[in-house]
Amino acid sequence: MSVVNPEPILELSNLCKTFRTKYNSVEALKGVSLSVNERDIFGIIGLSGAGKSTLVRTINMLERPDSGEVRVSGREITSLAETDLMRVRQKIGMIFQQFNLLKSITVYENIALPLRYLRKSKAEIERKVSDMLEIVGLTDKTGNYPSQLSGGQKQRVAIARALVTDPKILLSDEATSALDPQTTDSILSLLKELNSRFGLTIVLITHEVDVVKKICSKLAVLDKGEIAEQGTLWDVFANPTSGIAKKMLSRLFKLDDIHCALENLKIGKIVQGRGLLVHLLFKGEKANNAYIAYLVKNFDVCISIIYGNIEVIQTSPIGSLFIAMSGEEERVQAALGYLRSEGIGVGILREWHDKRREEIH
């Protein structure tokens, strides 16, 4: 918002990739286009098999696309020869789900590896490696071998190794998927710190909504090799249009859990007979208003709150509330109409009242 139209550091346009085997072919990417600005933390989310890993591998040409363009800092790289490509790759760091550290050498040597390849002086290697160790918080593990480290520590070493050559972009391929929730959080906050401290652009592939929610500023939803939706995190979360994004959002608000709970007879009985079961989504500023009290006062409806929670997406809140609403039919409808006119997401889950009436007649 403060920066005026920042330059895209990474531009993918119309990428296609098909994997062919003897027996079948799989279209992994079907014309994917997206652009990542400098300093973005760009999340690419999708289910497994959506083409995420293929997509991230086309960014540094570990996987050559069949057609389409990849521009890194404005330079088209799909047509580059191997040696030029190597130079581009040296400016793009990458981390992986399985860390991919060398088992036979120490933490220090793992981080020094890219520098040794570039024939940097001994003094420079020592300075850079100890800087990186400091940044990732592993100064006491210099001489250890990867097998002596925990998963989170291994990923920290991998991050240090990926960034020791000062790349401007970091690609993260499911980097936290093999870690427990706490370690995931610590790695994510490290990535966020690197982003804000050094202006590192991060492209992050994941299947976890939580990961995206925690650190991404922009988001693309990949579904079956196509971008289903893309925009700022807020855009996608507040107004999901694709089925896959809606599903993601419902996971974030634990909608499935609620449905499950309502299937439960006891809870179902309590809710039953109290009218309409409604799911409300309050976005941004709307989350601050006292709608429930207003409805009760002005529309003469009865409302019981079943479950509510709030998620903060990029400093803006999204509130999710499940209520059971009862009262005269037209008043209930008027109340719902009012909520809709206020720009509140209204989803009617189940009409308990009607169902019961049917049973009586």
């Binding site: 793009i92 991919n100 060398l102």
Partner: protein
């Protein structure tokens, strides 16, 4: 000490009588295994690396090379060694100038063991995590550097173990090469132990080979263990 000499003299009379020949045979075996081993390790590692990098999904994927190399290895491995030695006589003469003795034994030993070493080295290299190679490529490291500094370095414990197995096989083959005129403890055992019914010589030869195999295995295990982290 005297008792020991007495014991040996009583139970191993021929060993004592021909101890000069035995020592010479031992020296020949050590030389055979050493020279043939060094040459074969070089070619074995080379071919093993070629097999791995040209395989499907490898750094230098090449169906033609990997196909031909694989078939050639299978053909050579299917020829029994004794037959290979006879079959190779003209070639051996061409390379070593003679087909008998220590010199003559080395070419067939190399040809006999290289296909085997190539396969075990290939296996050791296959153990290296593909992800590590991918990470190195993502860093912009060149393929030759990856092969030498990452692929081979990461596979080193496995390569050492492969070398131990190959060395033991080579000791076995060297004894066989001895039987067909190559010298060494193999021919010593055949000439005296088998042809002249000196059972004690056969027994001592077996004992020596047993010790040699154990020594190689023991040292190899220690090195491999030290290299595994």
């Amino acid at each position: 000490m005297k008792q020991v000499t007495c014991f040996i003299g009583e139970y191993f009379p021929n060993v004592v009588e021909f101890q000069g020949d035995l020592l010479k045979a031992l020296k020949e075996t050590v030389l055979m295994v050493g020279i043939a081993g060094a040459i074969s390790m070089f070619f074995g590692i080379l071919i093993g690396v070629i097999l791995v990098v040209t395989a499907e999904g490898g750094l230098y994927e090449n169906k033609w090379i990997s196909g031909v190399a694989g078939k050639l290895i299978n053909v050579l491995r299917s020829i029994p060694f004794v037959i290979l030695v006879a079959f190779m006589v003209p070639l051996t003469r061409l390379i070593a100038g003679t087909s008998i003795g220590l010199k003559g034994a080395i070419p067939p030993l190399v040809v006999g063991i290289v296909p085997f070493i190539s396969r075990v080295i290939e296996q050791a290299l296959c153990e290296v995590d593909k992800g590590v190679i991918e990470a190195a490529r993502a860093m912009g490291i060149s393929k030759p550097y990856i092969v030498v500094h990452i692929l081979i370095r990461e596979a080193m414990p496995g390569i050492i173990r492969a070398m131990v197995i190959s060395c033991i096989s080579l000791i076995g083959l060297s004894a066989m090469a001895g039987a067909v005129g190559g010298g060494g403890v193999g021919s010593f055992a055949i000439r005296y132990g088998y042809a002249r019914y000196m059972v004690d010589i056969t027994f001592v030869t077996v004992l020596i080979l047993l010790l040699a195999v154990n020594l190689v295995q023991g040292i190899g295990n220690k090195i491999a263990k030290r290299m595994t982290h």
